[in-house]
């Protein structure tokens, strides 16, 4: 077999694995979020499709979405309307290229790793503005503007929070950052960075309490108001994919990625494979984010922007300064 064919085969295989993960993840999370939200609200959630826990509910949702008529409203900006769901979905998949699921379970360990993640995810804002503008609807334009303001405000603290682990590990590669946490997870020395990352990450995901761009009670549905059927579902595929991506990156940067907890004896560490550790931590964070979403009320837009620029940004800058000051101490203690 020629070499290029082998390369192509591997590329196709890896791409299909990622796509498969993204799709199954969405199926699981639709069900999990409905069940979890129901429990928080003292309900039982879906239970009839796939008794007794309603585990086939997402499949029923998929068939409903697939069988719906493809409606393109009159007087929409056609090209932008068709492209927006694709532009939001592609970056959501591309992020997984650098996510280290295990010591050898990674598509491509880029040496610009975390910078690549920041670069790729910045397209979400463009896609939301495209969808909001293309729909030719005043609610969707308001939503797109809010989303743009929010994503710009929270991207800065998000990227600044990432700098802490990068300083400690001395590399941008995600695999390198995970390996550097063998002795100690960075959440112990970067608690501030972790909290800033999680908060800003939730805002980037447009999830409550930061879901201003999808505020149902004031904007009907938000930037995706004129979308239905499969086109609409692409926005939700991207949302659930991004939810896991933020949790996976937080796990990688602060919770030791696929490493077992450092305090466990070596014999116990060997029992559970790294990928299980990684997925357990990631889905734990996903559940925490859902928990916050269904517990806290939505903030106002001015509170949201004030919080981002006047609180989160200074805190993330202070975190970098603190990390720099404490770096020699941590080295002397042998923690890093």
């Amino acid at each position: 077999m020629p070499a290029w064919l082998v390369t192509l085969g591997w590329a196709v295989l890896k791409a299909s694995l990622i796509l498969g993960f993204v799709l199954f993840n969405a199926l699981f999370l639709v069900w999990w979020e409905r069940k979890f939200a129901a429990r928080i609200q003292s309900r039982v959630g879906p239970q009839r499709t796939g008794r007794p826990f309603g585990y086939l509910q997402s499949m029923a949702d998929v068939f409903k979405l697939l069988s719906k008529e493809d409606v393109v409203p009159a007087r929409v900006d056609r090209w932008m309307y068709v492209l927006a769901p694709i532009v939001i979905f592609v970056p959501a998949v591309l992020v997984y290229v650098v996510v280290p699921f295990g010591p050898n379970l990674i598509v491509q360990d880029l040496n610009i790793g975390i910078l690549y993640v920041a670069a790729v995810t910045s397209f979400t804002m463009i896609a939301i503005v495209m969808a909001g503008w293309a729909a030719n609807n005043k609610y969707s334009v308001v939503s797109a503007m809010r989303a743009a303001a929010q994503l710009v405000a929270y991207e800065v603290p998000l990227v600044l929070a990432v700098i802490g682990p990068v300083m400690l590990a001395g590399t941008l590669s995600l695999q390198g950052i995970v390996r550097a946490q063998e002795g100690l997870w960075y959440i112990v020395v970067q608690p501030l960075g972790f909290l800033v990352f999680l908060t800003a990450g939730m805002a980037e995901l447009n999830r409550a309490p930061f879901d201003l761009s999808e505020a149902e009670s004031e904007l009907v549905a938000g930037y995706n108001i004129e979308y239905s059927g499969m086109r609409w579902s692409f926005f939700f595929l991207a949302e659930f994919s991004n939810l896991v991506a933020v949790s996976a990156i937080a796990t990688t940067l602060f919770l030791g990625g696929w490493q077992a907890p450092w305090f466990l004896p070596a014999a116990v560490k060997g029992l559970i494979p790294p990928v299980v550790w990684f997925l357990a931590k990631t889905y734990f964070l996903v559940t925490v984010i859902m928990w916050i979403r269904w517990t806290l009320p939505r903030v106002r837009i001015d509170q949201l922007l004030d919080f981002g620029w006047k609180f989160l940004l200074p805190v993330s800058l202070a975190n970098i300064a603190l990390t720099g000051l404490l770096f020699p101490v941590l080295v002397r203690l042998g923690w890093i």
């Binding site: 040496n111 670069a119 397209f123 503005v129 743009a148 303001a149």
Partner: protein, 187 residues
């Protein structure tokens, strides 16, 4: 021709076409999106030159942040101007020509473009370009960081100060008296 050369040519064609559409689109939001495509093509060219760091920064800063600023500028602009009022009447080629000779939409932008091109050309002629052999990998992120905070630390800090001054200036310009802002908030 190697695969990389074909990729370089294709990306350049996409970039130039997108740049052309940026200045000829009638709808300003379309122009902004064509600009994003042009930025992405430039990032792709960086990638074909093995400059991964520049690739990521190009996407993060230009396709992400600069585009957000442009979109804010559009949304804060006068709606009549966005709808194309003040444009020459008619359609097709005649309108294009009328537009080209009008002072605001044709001559002034052309003068700016020519001036910018002249500056860029003189910079291009005056700079001694390092003759890197083709296919040689660009410096790594580590090397860029060392250069930036070692050799070029004074220009780097100067640029930071200029940006800081611009930021303070922007805040001063938009700052309102405490009382007036409260008054304006009431419907």
């Amino acid at each position: 021709m190697t695969g990389l050369q074909i990729a370089f040519l294709a990306l350049s064609a996409v970039m130039l076409f997108a740049a052309w559409k940026v200045v000829t689109s009638d709808i300003i939001v379309h122009a902004a999106l064509w600009m994003v495509l042009s930025f992405v093509a430039v990032a792709g060219i960086f990638l074909t030159l093995h400059a991964e760091f520049l690739f990521a920064v190009q996407l993060l800063v230009y396709a992400g942040a600069i585009t957000a600023l442009v979109i804010f500028a559009i949304m804060l602009s006068d709606i009549r101007e966005l709808r194309g009022e003040g444009e020459p009447a008619g359609a097709g080629l005649g309108r294009r020509v009328r537009r080209l000779v009008s002072r605001r939409l044709g001559l002034a932008p052309a003068a700016v473009a020519v001036g910018f091109a002249a500056v860029m050309y003189s910079v291009y002629r005056a700079t001694p370009w390092p003759g890197l052999p083709p296919g040689d990998p660009a410096p790594s992120t580590l090397a860029i960081g060392r250069e930036l905070f070692g050799t070029y630390v004074v220009p780097f800090e100067l640029a930071s100060i200029v940006l800081l001054v611009a930021m303070v200036g922007a805040i001063v310009l938009t700052l309102r008296e405490g009382g007036r802002e409260k008054e304006e908030k009431r419907p």
